[in-house]
Symmetry: C2
Subunit: 349 residues, 2 copies
């Protein structure tokens, strides 16, 4: 251990920490085509085929709150988050391993509820639960999902493939998961005031955004469609930590800039309603809200029309610009906002 | 959620919980040759080759104690535990993903110490760190390692292959990791009494067992040797939860019994010294102590001599018996002890 002062992780940020750690290059295995720095690791299997590996850890109190999260939703979400990484490489998830750290406060039947969600997601995403482990844990529940998937080597879509003038697109709508979280946290405060420990969420008016938060679905439909219709994307990433953060990942990997139109950000009506109620700026939800599990992708401008012929649920939000341009956003009244660097979003991670 | 009473996890035990969870059969993917129930999942890649997947989660306060564990040892151990599962299938580890849940009490340099251990293990076991994630965590450090490895399909060694009259063997010696833990816990109590928070372990007399606990090495040497010398084992498992527990895994998977000789249990002198000091039975350490990362394996009696020609560091501890015989142990004075069922060990997991 060095004699340096205590540098907090906050002081360097998540991105800074990752940078320091990956300065060291450890052992290299020739089968690994791509390691740190994309949605999944990519491993060569045959001349044509690769394996894709990713993992996701969710920690109680950080990534979820048991006071309002149904346990089967939690199991589903953990799997959905994991397989989303495979889809983001244009791969097909095959198998998952699940490790649970189990505190005493969970009963056998509560653990079975978590697995009900895991099996349900397994059916939806056609992945087999192929192993894992159960460990005791003090106080907090932890869920780790490892996922193995497959892809055709020359069909894998990396973060690094974006080219200047490509269209910048997202599937679905943005900020819904964050709006759902806002509602759940407000309701929790309300329940706390009324000293109810057992929470029975009555979230009738906000079902859409609350489900976006609690049980987001990975975009298998989009990935199946682009493969069926032979639409070639130039880069892709799934939105787990917010649009601005993911944009910076693509920009850094592809060595490009990005220009987005604020007015083009796809936002659901219910998400707007929540932001209004909270007296917050809904565009902040769309720009920084995580966990939507939508796909952010780029493709040549001329391919957009072909995509639109087969798929409705996406929006063009801007375009790829040249190296050094950074991330800029044009506001509805024509001003241009510049986003400093990725630490802005990384700090929110 | 059902209306049943609150059944604690302790009341059914880890094995019972796993049984209840795996009663449900979820989605099956045809590429998955073997899923839940062995050291790793096995996935068919080509006619000859399979991929092996496993994962390991370590939780502070349960699996390790930061008051006396050097952080680089911790990183090393997490990787060692993960790759050990690949070796236990007679596979070769290729790549790992590491997810850390990081509490504020860790500085940037402390996190880098963990990675120093991870990279060091990567070099020793020839695995590439190929991804992972960093998440904030409240209070406790969590480490999840996913490991991907490879094997020849017809050379994979499952738990299910043990046959009646096979010799039952272990590599190395048993109970050392548990002895090390005993010493560390005693020293911690001592330090606490003297109100020292910063622990500088002076463990000169117990270096061997303390290292067995803190930084166990997966038996790559043994696996390399059996492949070089074409020695065919009939079943294998790595010892992470104790000999009796692992024996029951092989017995259940192979549908056989086991007969072991207490006098044949390989125990290091230092392990005996610790047990003496603690006024405990050293055979309990050997039978129930976890984390030794030694290999428990079976092979035809006539193959033992061939193995001994090439490798010294193993002991024959008994033999495989017929179905229904359960687990029996012959004591040095000729008595026979019967081990009830695996819950005895599972409760200690």
């Amino acid at each position: 251990m060095s004699d340096n002062e205590f540098r907090t992780i906050q002081s360097v940020g998540r991105a800074g920490l990752i940078k320091e750690i990956t300065e060291e290059t450890g052992f290299r295995n020739e089968a690994v085509i791509s390691g740190v720095g994309d949605d999944t690791a990519v491993i060569q299997e045959t001349e044509q085929r690769v394996s894709l590996l990713s993992s996701e850890t969710m920690i109680e109190g950080v990534n979820f709150d048991l006071t309002y999260t149904p346990l089967h939703y939690l199991g589903y979400k953990a799997v959905s988050m994991a397989v989303s990484d495979i889809y983001a490489m244009n791969g097909k998830p095959t198998a998952i391993l699940v490790n649970l750290g189990l505190p005493n406060k969970l009963s056998v039947d509560m653990v079975k509820e978590i697995y009900r969600g895991i099996y349900s997601a397994g059916n939806d995403f056609e992945v087999q639960l192929a192993g894992g482990d159960l460990t005791a844990s003090h106080q907090i529940l932890t869920i780790s999902v490892s996922v193995y998937g497959r892809g055709e080597k020359n069909q894998i879509i990396y973060r690094k493939g974006a080219h200047q003038d490509d269209a910048l697109c997202v599937t679905g709508d943005l900020g819904g998961a964050m709006a759902g979280l806002r509602i759940l946290m407000r309701e929790k405060d309300h329940w706390k005031e009324h000293q109810q420990n057992q929470v029975q969420p009555d979230l009738g008016d906000y079902e859409y955004v609350v489900k976006r938060q609690m049980v987001p679905a990975a975009r298998k439909d989009f990935i199946n469609m682009i493969n069926e219709k032979h639409i070639r994307l130039s880069s892709m990433i799934d939105i787990t930590q917010g649009l601005v953060h993911e944009l910076h990942q693509i920009m850094d990997a592809s060595n490009v800039g990005a220009y987005i139109y604020q007015a083009a950000l796809p936002i659901a009506i219910e998400t707007r309603q929540v932001a209004d109620e909270m007296k917050e700026d809904v565009d902040k939800y769309a720009l920084y809200g995580g966990e939507d599990l939508e796909m952010l992708f780029t493709l040549p401008e001329k391919e957009v029309e072909k995509l639109a012929d087969h798929f409705n649920d996406f929006a063009v939000i801007g375009k790829v610009t040249e190296t050094g341009e950074g991330l800029k956003m044009q506001t509805p009244d024509g001003d241009v906002v510049f986003f400093d660097d990725e630490n802005e979003s990384a700090d929110k991670a």
